[in-house]
């Protein structure tokens, strides 16, 4: 037996509530984060990811209260992202109950942060999130939630942060995100052939076959999705059933 493929539901959180909206517009309230996380845990989620979508505007204390509320209810690995700028932000999140933190824009503005954080807290808790968009034959990296284009090539950047001590890569395809047309398997396949650390694929899940393909074709170690789980279009149990049918090992005996 080998490691199982991981299914990771993601909660977008703002001001202590789970929110949903398309491209961060028309945001609607969608529940209490701890309750939603608990439901996902009971359904068989292998990890929980929480993204603080406007951490830079909100007070951090709300975020920490939410992290703590989730950590008191859910006993599976728990990743928190959004607004992490310095070592102290990481320390506080870990103390509040996060097992891993996901760093995006700050990793680009201050690559030393990855090195220092992995040295201080261990690589296993440092996830580097990358937002990438196809640009000719390659993929470019964007910052600030996809607003600003950088000069970085996504695959080269992933390799660089691996070298700096990142424990995992969370790759979101901006071309696919929100389209429900499947993950960017070209990008992920290319990426995994260059990486030794695990890849979490994100962006584009719309139906069961997309999650199977992300693992079989894209070689992802884990698949992250928000809306399909959120709107109960597809249950986590149903995803696992489909993966098993395709000879992908998953965690059963929840």
């Amino acid at each position: 037996m080998a490691l199982t493929a991981r299914i990771i539901p993601c909660l977008d959180v703002r001001g202590g509530r789970v929110v949903k909206g398309i491209n961060f517009k028309n945001i609607i309230d969608a529940g209490d984060p701890a309750e939603v996380a608990k439901r996902y845990d009971a359904e068989g989620a292998d990890e929980i990811c929480m993204l603080d979508i406007d951490a830079s505007y909100q007070e951090r204390s709300t975020t920490l209260t939410t992290v703590e509320a989730i950590a008191n209810q859910v006993f599976i690995p728990f990743t928190v992202g959004g607004g992490i700028k310095k070592l102290q932000d990481i320390e506080v999140l870990l103390k509040s109950g996060a097992d891993k933190v996901s760093i995006n824009t700050s990793a680009i503005l201050e690559p030393n942060l990855i090195q220092e954080a992995s040295k201080e807290f261990g690589s296993q808790c440092i996830v580097v999130a990358i937002d990438a968009k196809k640009d000719g034959d390659a993929w470019s990296v964007y910052t600030h939630g996809g607003k600003n284009k950088t000069e970085l090539n996504a695959i080269e950047w992933a390799k660089k942060v691996e070298g700096l001590g990142a424990g995992e890569i969370l790759m979101t395809s901006m071309d696919k995100d929100g389209t429900k047309t499947g993950y960017d398997n070209d990008l992920n396949k290319k990426l995994t052939s260059h990486l030794r650390i695990p890849l979490i694929a994100s962006g584009g899940a719309g139906q069961l076959s997309h999650l199977v393909d992300a693992i079989k074709i894209g070689n992802a170690d884990a698949v992250l999705a928000a809306s399909i789980f959120h709107y109960e279009e597809i249950s986590i149990a149903r995803v696992k059933e489909e993966l098993m049918k395709n000879n992908i090992s998953v965690r059963s005996n929840i």
């Binding site: 490691l3 199982t4 950590a71 008191n72 006993f75 599976i76 109950g97 170690d221 929840i254």
Partner: protein, 203 residues
């Protein structure tokens, strides 16, 4: 029942404390010798390298007293807390462990398709029936994060095995002393069951 959770300063003990409290037991942080007095059972969680762990325990004057208490109190070592029970680790060859299990902890053998650290959910095959794995279906998945493992051990001491490229000992036992390479505090319902069993285990 008071469960002592050892804090040697370089490990995230909060999730273990949360899980123990969630199960209704009283958890107490042990960061100095006196803290051990009213403790019924000991959990040593751990992250980082074995050398740093031993050095930190020694700095806090906890190494020798913990080693002594291993002869009487139920002990659960998690991850690095399992590894310190061995004589030594390839990771820190100059640091002598607690020597409960003779032998060493070794790095996974590199191969092209193997990801190190071994991180994620993997099957734990229990080799013995024991109170701590009561009501846990054999071959359940538990959550792992580590690069070093015990590969060779006397059969009597092997409580469970797991495969990551090669077979390793994912749980070890000797009398009142148990070590698990996985993280029960992060392994969902089965992990909580394991911790609950440890809390209720009577020697």
């Amino acid at each position: 029942m008071q469960i002592g959770v050892v804090d040697y300063g370089a490990s995230n003990i909060f999730s273990v404390l949360r899980a123990v409290s969630h199960l209704g037991a009283k958890a107490k942080v042990i960061s100095k010798q006196e803290d051990l007095k009213s403790i019924d059972k000991i959990i040593l969680p751990g992250q980082g390298s074995m050398g740093a762990c031993i050095e930190n325990l020694k700095k806090k004057n906890l190494f020798e007293i913990l080693k002594l208490s291993l002869s009487e109190k139920p002990y659960l070592g998690i991850c690095l807390g399992l590894q310190v029970l061995f004589s030594l680790s390839e990771e820190s060859i100059d640091s002598e462990g607690m020597n409960i299990f003779s032998g060493k902890v070794e790095r996974f053998t590199e191969n092209e398709n193997l990801k190190i650290p071994h991180m994620g959910w993997n099957q734990v095959i229990f080799k013995k029936k024991h109170f701590v794995n009561k009501n846990i279906p054999n071959s359940s998945n538990f959550y792992f994060v580590h690069s070093y493992a015990s590969k060779e051990l006397k059969k009597d001491n092997i409580l469970a095995e797991t495969t990551h490229g090669e077979l390793f000992n994912s749980a070890v036992i000797q009398d009142n002393i148990i070590g698990v390479q996985f993280h029960p505090e992060k392994s969902g319902a089965q992990g909580l069951k394991f911790l609950e069993n440890f809390i209720n285990w009577k020697i």
